[in-house]
Subunit: 331 residues, 2 copies
Amino acid sequence: MSQPKIYDIAGAAGVSLATVSRVLNHPEKVKKETRERVLRIIREKGYKPNANARGLASRRSTTVAIVVPKLTRASVAEMIQGVSDSAQKYGYTIRLFVNDDPTRAKDFWAEVIASSVDGILFLNDEMTQEVYELVKNTPVPVLFINSVAKGEQFGSVGIDYQGCAYQITEEMIRRGNKDILFVSNERVYSVNILMEKGYHAAMVANGLEPKIIYSSGELAVNEKFFSEYLDHHVPEVAMLVRDSMAISFMNSAIRKGIKVPDQLQVIGFQNTRYALLANPKLTCVEIPIYEIGNQAMEVLTKLMKEGLTVDSDNPHLLVDYKIIWRETTRN
Amino acid sequence: MSQPKIYDIAGAAGVSLATVSRVLNHPEKVKKETRERVLRIIREKGYKPNANARGLASRRSTTVAIVVPKLTRASVAEMIQGVSDSAQKYGYTIRLFVNDDPTRAKDFWAEVIASSVDGILFLNDEMTQEVYELVKNTPVPVLFINSVAKGEQFGSVGIDYQGCAYQITEEMIRRGNKDILFVSNERVYSVNILMEKGYHAAMVANGLEPKIIYSSGELAVNEKFFSEYLDHHVPEVAMLVRDSMAISFMNSAIRKGIKVPDQLQVIGFQNTRYALLANPKLTCVEIPIYEIGNQAMEVLTKLMKEGLTVDSDNPHLLVDYKIIWRETTRN
DNA sequence: CTGAAAGCGCTTACAG
DNA sequence: CTGAAAGCGCTTACAG
């Protein structure tokens, strides 16, 4: 009961293997009747070409790699779902590579390349010189997801992080708020830096003093830190780089009897399900992470088709974001 | 600047390709000096064997498939992280297959097999006869994750869903509660059925009347439904099959001025980050989903090594769960 | 439009 | 312990 091979199909159809292969890869080169006969047998036997053999012979594997630091953030899963849906549409299959250890970077990247994928989608928060070199010497197209590649040499798909932070800050200023706090993450993620820049620029442009604090990514640490901060000062508005951080901040405030949104307004970036499960519901800048993954795979498909590598003139696609006003802000 | 091939290594080391291959696959068969020389060159050149060629020649790809219906649930991402960490330990690489369309089941499964993985980790909520047949005829080991396979024919890794629901129900009864509501999902997931059974058994065993309602998986629908339900009746305890549902239920109650946990106690299953971001913090039965993924890959490794297929005597591993008491319940 | 043949980059009996 | 050779299951120029 083992899987049928191309020989079996050829035999059953009374043609050579070359013809079966052509039916699959260049159907227009095969006479209609032959093609249909072969296709029927392929369907009957449930034949699928062996991916390894095909990849080896054609040097095309119709496989792409998704490279991520870790999966525990819900947003990464959504992004992959976006990639997956688009990949399926184009007949690509996904290899998943997870590595959070910078010391393994080189070996890890070699492994990705050895898996002979046709292209790589790279979700990478911190771009080091070493990674830069690795990517530069990659023989297949690499596209960065949700982060802007240093030096703009590589293609990327994301949103205008700086612009969205600027826009929402400006809007809150327009609504009469002056004391606006920006809370970022201790770890240096390029997207956070961009959002911080946008916030900073909007404050300065309006003659206000930016106030930026950095917190941990860990829930328990955050709560303590936020609680202490709020003992000293309650801003009019707090913007936090992640939904989960925003909700922690809000909960810390509510436990102290601070009214949201009357005394404190809270804004998060991302719009995960957390935002809707919060009470009150969180106002967010929605980062369409599914869409980003989906578009990224779409763009990668083109790069692969055109045989573009990272040296070529690469696209920087910005997906639309939007602001979702809910219960943690007021007009 | 293309990747070095095995020929390049052989040439540089002054040996045949067979020897290089042996150094990689059966190092004990190669003389120490030769081995070390070859290894040094491999390291210098950053050589990684081409995965397709290796897979084709050896019929072992050191690749496993993770098959999931969708990725948008945070728990799936954690599970995959667990798999990934264990896979890396054993040198396996991951192919990710996502399909939520039952009509494509057969074709989809053929694709998974054609990718010539050495084993399959299958996260599957609803086990149909068709899927059953497909899995039965699979030439490599298949292990079910987080769901019990029908007829116990296939191996699985999960937790004792029935037992944990029984246990927490019994504990809440011991604490003097009688009016305990169980809220499940409209969709027929095997794990939900098991939890429902456990709850039901505990209620009956204690002479209490089980009350079970079914809700949607969608947030907005749930909120409306829960709100209406609470207008008619507020139970002493509500247990919901997912954290997110539990939090929706709780928020609906709080908006009506119902005190949690004084008037209503709420319990969720899973213990995602949602539980900690809720206010008050949610009491949960923790389902160690990372651990489940991790152990599953561990078990699969053994199955692959022993060449066991689904016909063999397969293991059913139960990972430990625990109950995490937080602020939505009282003693 | 179709077939025979070479080749993709490896692994693994088989000799020695 | 090591090498020469066959073969894994495909694809793709090259002839015809």
